[in-house]
């Protein structure tokens, strides 16, 4: 169970992470701001609270796995891995440049990245494969997969959801970054996801719903998921796309877009202000 001081520590990490994300993306270049900012609390709760993970040995066979299925939002994961020391901070400044370790979408050649993703809908199936391997080798690690809500429109997600339930993969936990927006607009306008909780329950999953920006709720849900036996758990984390930067919040056009100099300056100012008072 997460206590108050830990919650404060994690909240401080989210503030640093948001600033680092925007800094690494910079100005005048298109980046996936929206989805990277909406998932910050989720990524923080995983890497800095829940995952059994050694930054000095990211290939440790008994580590908990985190698969970034919504691959375009990998920048938050990059920042987390740099903060943990899995790779040097300098890598962040080379994001998406020629020859860089940090590719535009997750590549397993990058230390700490568990899966090649970017074409949406594949990560949950892949995570099922990892979870099955744990069972075959009698290892007790857990597998966490972060899905975008728009990604749930991919049919393969539901193939995978059936597999997880059929195999009773209770050491697997999916988290949905439910920010309500995809690249061209609202998810409910193109292919509605609601009633989302009922869908997952109908597919045989234990469903938890949290405020995806409330770090305590997220940590508690991750703890609860660990106690659910006989079925996989999905945490639907309600979030705001672009969270933390006022003019990006809730605006789908920042799914993958550049910031102007003025926008960049304002974003940095807002995020630095949020960070004031944090050691």
């Amino acid at each position: 169970m997460v206590d108050g001081s830990k919650v404060k520590e994690l909240q401080d990490i989210t503030k640093r992470m948001r600033l680092e994300i925007v800094r690494m993306m910079g100005k005048n270049k298109p980046h996936h701001f929206g989805g990277s900012l909406s998932e910050v609390e989720i990524v923080t709760a995983l890497y800095f609270y829940k995952l059994r993970y050694h930054a000095s040995d990211p290939a440790w066979p008994d580590r908990d796995r985190f698969v970034m299925s919504k691959g375009h939002s990998v920048p938050a994961q990059y920042v987390a891995l740099a903060m943990l020391g899995v790779f040097p901070y300098e890598y962040l400044g080379q994001l998406k440049t020629l020859g860089a370790c940090l590719q535009g979408h997750p590549c397993m050649k990058t230390p700490g990245i568990e899966a090649c993703t970017g074409s949406l809908g594949q990560g949950l199936s892949y995570s099922n494969g990892i979870a099955l391997s744990a069972r075959l080798t009698n290892r007790d690690f857990r597998v966490y997969t972060l899905l975008g809500d728009g990604e749930l429109q991919e049919g393969q997600v539901w193939e995978a959801a059936m597999t997880s339930a059929a195999r009773k993969l209770d050491h697997l936990c999916a988290i949905i970054d439910r920010n309500h927006l995809e690249s061209q607009g609202n998810t409910e306008d193109s292919k509605p996801l609601e009633p989302l909780k009922l869908k997952w329950e109908a597919f045989g999953w234990h469903v938890l719903e949290v405020d995806g920006h409330d770090i305590k709720q997220l940590c508690d849900a991750l703890d609860t998921a660990e106690t659910v036996k006989g079925k996989p758990t999905v945490i639907i984390a309600d979030t705001v796309k672009g969270k933390g930067v006022s003019f990006i919040e809730g605006d789908f056009t920042f799914h993958n877009a550049p910031l102007s100099q003025d926008q960049y300056d304002q974003a940095i100012q807002e995020l630095e202000t949020a960070l004031e008072g944090v050691n």
Binding site: G121, Y126, N128, A160, M162
Partner: protein
């Protein structure tokens, strides 16, 4: 060829996978509700804990295989060739090939000889799809003996491997002394007029044609090209240099398969002429395997005709 024993490569595959499974407990098999047809059932019955029927979901099948491979297992993913390579192409590309994982795709009921199910099930573009992917090895065994050796070789080969298998009763060309090697084409018969470069069960038909042509005084070489990728360019070019013409023969589209692979290397060395025998940019239809092979011009007499035509 009539005295040779007939074996479906899918049957040889099933038996080989069982033996591989006995020898290596890291081998796992996954299928998409076709295991009695693909013959992965043979493995599944012996090793139920290492066998996963994923239901009718090829994309899930491939991505799950990738997760198992990333965790140290050696998955064999089974379905019909068409669905394995076509339905799950994106998953194969991103999750098996981009950063190579050792997963073998066993594409069953490939090609025209899939037979009565018709165009929806007949894969003519599977080799083409797989050949274009970096870190992918493409194998098309000519008979049951070679199929078994392909299975063992695939398990030991880094990266993804596609093995093209069929349900056509295929004459056994090799005995147990045969040594298959990935990337090595096998000259079954030498000759100096025309070289027949064949793959899969078309190799047996090429041999039949060559035997008949011998009687007419036409000297025809037959090469079994069971590795489409990486292509044995040394053997292909050497053969092309010693004959008047090269003919490729495959139960696959002439676009993107063996014919294209050979054309690429011949063109770069300014060698030829080349005739590509195969499916000529069209879909299939229902029929028996032999009716279809005849209808689409893939029998020994058609091969013999092409040889005579190109020699003028």
């Amino acid at each position: 060829m009539t005295d040779r024993k007939l074996v479906q490569t899918r049957d040889a595959y099933g038996d080989a996978l069982l033996e591989l499974g006995k020898a290596n407990d890291k081998v796992v098999a996954l299928d998409a509700d076709l295991y009695r047809s693909t013959k992965s059932s043979v493995f599944g019955e012996a090793f139920p804990e290492r066998f996963f029927d994923m239901g009718i979901s090829e994309q899930d099948l491939i991505s799950t295989s990738a997760g198992l491979a990333a965790s140290g297992f050696i998955p064999f993913a089974n379905s019909f060739a068409m669905f394995l390579t076509g339905r799950a192409y994106d998953q194969v590309r991103l999750q098996l090939c981009y950063v190579p994982l050792n997963v073998t795709l066993a594409g069953s009921s490939a090609g025209l000889t899939q037979g009565p199910d018709g165009a929806s099930h007949q894969s003519f573009d599977d080799i083409s799809l797989m050949r274009g992917l970096p870190n992918m090895t493409v194998l098309v065994p000519a008979d049951g003996v070679e199929t078994a050796q392909c299975v063992w070789a695939a398990a030991e080969t880094p990266g993804a491997t596609y093995i093209r298998l069929g349900r056509y009763p295929t004459p056994l060309l090799f005995d147990e002394t045969y040594k298959f090697q990935i990337g090595k084409a096998h000259v079954l018969k030498d000759g100096h007029d025309v070289a027949l470069l064949a793959t899969g069960h078309m190799t047996a038909k090429a041999l039949d044609a060559a035997t008949e042509l011998d009687k007419e005084g036409i000297s025809v070489a037959v090469v079994n090209v069971s590795t489409i990728k990486p292509l044995d360019t040394e053997t292909v070019l050497g053969m092309a240099a010693q004959v008047k013409a090269v003919i490729t023969i495959e139960e696959h589209s002439i676009i993107g398969g063996l014919g294209s692979a050979v054309a690429e290397v011949l063109a770069e060395k300014r060698l030829g002429p080349l005739v590509r025998m195969g499916i000529r940019d069209t879909f299939g239809q229902s029929g028996s395997a032999d009716e279809l092979l005849d209808c689409y011009g893939l029998t020994a007499p058609y091969i013999a005709d092409e040889v005579k035509k190109i020699l003028g």
